[in-house]
């Protein structure tokens, strides 16, 4: 799991990369798009895959399974900050659903990322089913709020 400082650093780097419009890592647009889609689908999606059945009451609260999913999310999203350079608005071969608003409203995008981070931390801190069920809706909402503004329909 990442420490608070590491996440904080990442948020700072994200702000820099967006604000200055520089791609930090020497990564092609296709690689960046591929990597951020993997973060979304495997990382975030993996957390949802474990969390949603617990929310729906189909499965019991499972701290161990959640821990594994969050670790996988950390791994899949580790270069997050460097995946949104202005030169990644379009891929070469890779399709992207990222909307231009990410780059025309960098503050809004950052805030949406911040909301997700806070909600994600709160869910990680949950120790039992009751506290988990209180914390989780804000996390799901944070995915939706960012997608409403910054992601085109998936089709």
């Amino acid at each position: 799991m990442f420490s608070k400082m590491q996440w904080g650093l990442m948020a700072g780097v994200l702000a820099l990369s967006l604000g200055a419009g520089v791609a930090l890592a020497a990564m092609s647009a296709d690689d960046a798009i591929k990597a951020r889609k993997a973060c979304m689908k495997i990382g975030h999606g993996g957390v949802m895959g474990v969390a949603v059945p617990i929310m729906k009451g189909e499965k019991p609260f499972d701290a161990a399974a959640l821990k594994v999913a969050f670790a996988a999310e950390d791994a899949a999203c580790k270069d997050y900050a460097s995946l949104w350079g202005v030169d990644t608005q379009k891929g070469d071969k890779e399709t992207t659903h990222a909307k231009a608003e990410i780059w025309s409203d960098p503050k809004g995008f950052e805030a949406a990322g911040g909301d997700w981070y806070k909600a994600d931390q709160a869910v990680r801190a949950a120790t039992d089913e009751a506290s988990f069920k209180v914390a989780f809706p804000a996390l799901g909402k944070s995915c939706q709020s960012c997608h409403e503004k910054f992601r085109a329909p998936l089709q």
Binding site: G49, M55, C143, Q144, H147, E148, A152, P153, L154, Q155
Partner: protein
């Protein structure tokens, strides 16, 4: 030669004159409206089903007004330019305070403004005209129950707006001659309720049905999805949602409408659907179930 040109000029003028006359909107005659006792609870339901707040939300510079008050001004980007949906609160100058129910009906069912202009169909009156008189009257009563907010919204940023409004005559001839939604006696009450909410107030077809060359709904391809009407991205088809394994069953789709991405339903966020889902989540469960029943009957 000169005579021919003059004749052509005269013909052209005559043509323009005819166009001007036939594009002059015809206001509603003051027909006597049926008696109606307003039901605010029902008005609120239809306000939510109709998603009025998604477009008429307060703009960024409206201060101290709750986000669920339809004070207007939130910019709506469309291919013809930026529109500023007007203030629907009962303020007499900047809102609907001076509107009579008759005028409101004409807006909702015929796309007419009291000043005689055609309204731009980004305001989905093509669908709202399938709403019953009672439901429209209840929405009006509900709007009048909001506090009056003084907020004159900015003028639309559309090049040649007066001409665009005139040109709408032709679009309206085509679009408003399509039949309004009618109940199907062969189906259950709940199916009909769902069909009404989807095709009337819910205006789901405005996004989920592709358009013809003339920008009217291509009803032969109803709910088949296509390019997004606001210009970017695609809207998915609503046919065969269970057959294509997008949802397990009706209960799963109901859960998707009620919770959206909060319970991991991935296809309910982008392109305006997030707001639609938020509005649907405010409806009584029986209505959400009816909508799901109808949608899943689209094979």
């Amino acid at each position: 030669m000169k005579r021919i040109l003059q004749a052509l000029g005269a013909l052209a003028l005559l043509g323009l004159g005819v166009v001007w006359v036939i594009t002059t909107p015809v206001a509603l005659t003051s027909a006597v409206l049926p008696d109606h006792v307003a039901d605010l609870e029902n008005g609120k339901l239809l306000f939510n089903a109709g998603g009025c707040i998604s477009c008429h939300a307060p703009g960024p510079d409206v201060k101290d007004v709750a986000a669920d008050v339809p004070a207007g001004g939130k910019p709506l980007k469309t291919p013809i330019g930026i529109l500023y949906p007007p203030n629907l609160t009962p303020d007499p100058q900047s809102g609907l305070g001076n509107w009579k129910l008759q005028a409101f009906l004409a807006a909702m069912q015929q796309g007419l403004h009291p000043d005689g202009n055609h309204l731009i169909p980004a305001f989905p009156y093509g669908s709202y005209r399938s709403m019953t008189f009672g439901d429209v009257a209840d929405v009006f009563a509900y709007l009048n129950s909001f506090p009056a907010v003084k907020n004159q919204v900015p003028a639309h940023e559309v090049i040649g707006l007066p001409i665009v409004r005139r040109g709408l005559t032709f679009w309206k001839w085509l679009a408003l001659s399509q039949p309004v939604w009618k109940p199907d006696a062969a189906q259950s009450d709940s199916w009909n309720r769902g069909a009404y909410l989807v095709n009337g107030p819910g205006h789901c077809q405005e996004c989920h049905t592709p358009r013809t060359l003339f920008m009217t709904l291509d009803t032969s391809r109803a709910f088949m999805g296509g390019p997004h009407p606001e210009g970017k991205g695609k809207v998915p088809s609503l046919h065969g949602l269970v057959e294509r394994a997008r949802y397990k069953d009706a209960a799963d789709l109901v859960s998707a409408f009620q919770n959206g991405e909060v319970l991991g339903y991935e296809h309910m966020s982008g392109g305006g659907m997030g707001e639609v889902q938020g509005n649907l989540s405010k409806l009584p469960e029986a209505d959400v179930k009816a909508i799901a029943e109808y949608v899943l009957s689209l094979k």
